[in-house]
């Protein structure tokens, strides 16, 4: 807590007096990482968490950071949030250096992180309360957001009375409350069942299309990344680094069972498979051979791709 506890000038009233804006075509770079590196020292010496990384994210772009665990994707997200400080390099958000967390960069966590002692409505109003926004506006705003995520009927429920998917929708509504420029999502749907996840993908896509905010979405699920992203940043492990970037040019809204999506996902899975094998070999520490085609590769997976 202490290292983050610097008061920052960036905390100010955001545009709650305006309704949710339908912004179209916000130009320019939203987030920029310039040779950002993170390492820390422990008893085995220096541990490199994230190797020197440069990345520009356009305003309104939906970027997925995709990779196996330990690839530094969550680290990268925490750096952008301002929750971590880089060892080297520069991070900019809308041209200004990132030095501390800010309501302009809202975050959604894997377990929703709704406050258990507040009702859903109060959870959504909490960030507005921090900005001393008066009660009338708070209520109007939270109602609007609750309707946006289809949870208005559950406004007075406590988080433990909601399902996992509802909690995540609540967390998304809370993140939107301060009308942030950037939404950071850290494997928000990893703990949900497949059906709920598909529904939430559609919701996120709808919200992205509606408000054109910049989304940075961390996942280890290839299909999820292909389903959502304009661009996938593929990351590898040991040390965490960017392997390559893949633009997904599929039109939106994307149907959940699009065949082209499966093909792209397959190609990406192949790239990841070699990475995973590398890690497995390292962890097994002697001659390890991943069984052939064990990791979602192989022609039978192409689902008619050669027809």
């Amino acid at each position: 807590m202490s290292s983050f506890a610097k008061p920052i000038s960036g905390v100010h009233r955001t545009s709650v007096d305006r309704p949710l804006r339908l912004v179209t075509g916000r130009a320019g770079t939203s987030v920029s990482l310039d040779n950002v590196e993170l390492s820390f020292a422990d008893r085995r010496g220096e541990q490199r968490i994230l190797e020197s990384t440069s990345l520009d994210i356009r305003a309104g772009e939906f970027v997925c950071l995709l990779g196996p665990s330990g690839c530094g994707k969550s680290t990268m997200l925490n750096l952008i949030a301002g929750l971590l400080a880089p060892t080297k390099g520069k991070l900019l958000a809308n041209g200004r250096p990132i030095v501390a967390p800010s309501p302009k960069r809202a975050m959604v966590f894997q377990d929703a992180a709704l406050f258990p002692w507040l009702t859903l409505r109060s959870n959504i109003e909490y960030p507005l309360r921090l900005q001393s926004i008066d009660q009338g506006e708070r209520e109007a705003r939270s109602e609007e957001l609750l309707r946006l995520v289809h949870l208005f009927r559950f406004a007075d429920h406590y988080p433990h009375e909601l399902s996992g998917g509802m909690r995540q929708r609540g967390a998304i509504a809370r993140a939107l409350a301060t009308d942030p420029e950037i939404l950071l999502m850290d494997e928000p749907f990893a703990a949900l069942d497949a059906q709920t996840r598909e529904i939430l993908h559609a919701e996120v896509e709808r919200i992205h299309t509606l408000f054109r905010k910049t989304f940075v979405f961390v996942t280890h699920n290839v299909r999820e990344a292909v389903r959502l992203a304009d661009r996938i940043v593929l990351m590898g492990t040991r040390p965490g680094r960017v392997l390559r970037e893949v633009e997904i040019a599929l039109p939106r809204p994307r149907p959940a069972n699009d065949l082209r999506m499966s093909e792209i996902a397959n190609d990406i899975a192949n790239i990841i498979a070699s990475e995973v094998e590398k890690v497995a070999r390292e962890e097994a520490d002697d001659a390890w051979l991943a069984p052939a085609n064990s990791v979602r590769v192989g022609s039978h997976r192409h689902l008619g791709g050669s027809i």
């Binding site: 807590m1 202490s2 983050f4 506890a5 610097k6 008061p7 905390v11 949030a81 301002g82 929750l83 967390p101 800010s102 309501p103 960069r105 809202a106 975050m107 966590f109 894997q110 377990d111 992180a113 406050f115 258990p116 002692w117 909490y126 960030p127 921090l130 900005q131 406590y158 988080p159 433990h160 009375e161 809370r174 301060t178 950071l184």
Partner: protein, 214 residues
């Protein structure tokens, strides 16, 4: 038993004893809460405090609080302060230790979420960390309450005048078993009353709101 109690009640001894004991309990327990919760938070959040005061507090908590009474009597004389010190020391440490635990066990995402929304320092502590730790702190407060009651009874039995503890001693001196048992029942009723009026209600709130039992 009823007769003995009625007799004590008639000349006001019982009422005075109940009032004296309750006052001592409330003051001692109140001070213990007021000091113990901030101490626990400091132990959890400030590394310097943890490293310096941490071992001391663990060490001190292994001294039964009644052992402080002789020292307290030497310093403060046969006074209310002396007994208050014993009560405070008896209940402060379990409250502080439970608070420290509860604060340390607050899921980091909860505080991180609040940070990204712009909460800082005191605001973060009061509006997020403490509410998040509340079920655990309540557990410590309950523990502290029973410790306060025990310390006070021991203190009153041993040295300090007035109060239910001394009434017990009087009963023994007079060989009045009925009085002794009667006073024990009164102590039990006091303890139960605090439980059902305060702690059980708070427990129900925790179950309803947090969805967990303490």
């Amino acid at each position: 038993m009823i007769l003995s109690l009625r007799e004590s009640a008639k000349d006001g001894v019982l009422v005075r004893a109940v009032v004296t004991t309750s006052l001592r309990l409330f003051v001692g327990y109140g001070v213990a809460l007021a000091l113990g919760i901030p101490l626990g938070v400091a132990l959890a959040k400030q590394r310097l405090v943890k490293q310096t005061a941490g071992p001391l507090i663990i060490g001190l908590s292994s001294i039964p609080s009644i052992c402080w009474l002789p020292l307290s009597l030497l310093w403060f004389g046969l006074s209310e302060t002396a007994i208050a010190v014993v009560v405070v020391l008896g209940s402060l440490l379990p409250i502080a230790v439970a608070t420290e635990n509860a604060v340390r066990l607050v899921p980091p995402q909860i505080e991180r979420a609040a940070l990204t929304m712009g909460a800082r320092r005191l605001r973060l502590l009061l509006s997020v960390t403490l509410p998040a730790a509340f079920p655990g702190i309540l557990g410590g407060a309950k523990l502290g309450w029973t410790f306060a009651l025990r310390s006070l009874m021991a203190g009153e039995l041993l040295f300090v005048s007035g109060g239910l503890g001394q009434l017990l001693e009087t009963g023994r001196d007079l060989g009045d078993t009925a009085l002794v048992v009667g006073v024990m029942v009164v102590i039990l009723v006091l303890g139960r009353l605090a439980e059902s009026l305060v702690f059980e209600r708070l427990d129900r709130v925790v179950v309803r709101v947090w969805g967990v039992a303490t």
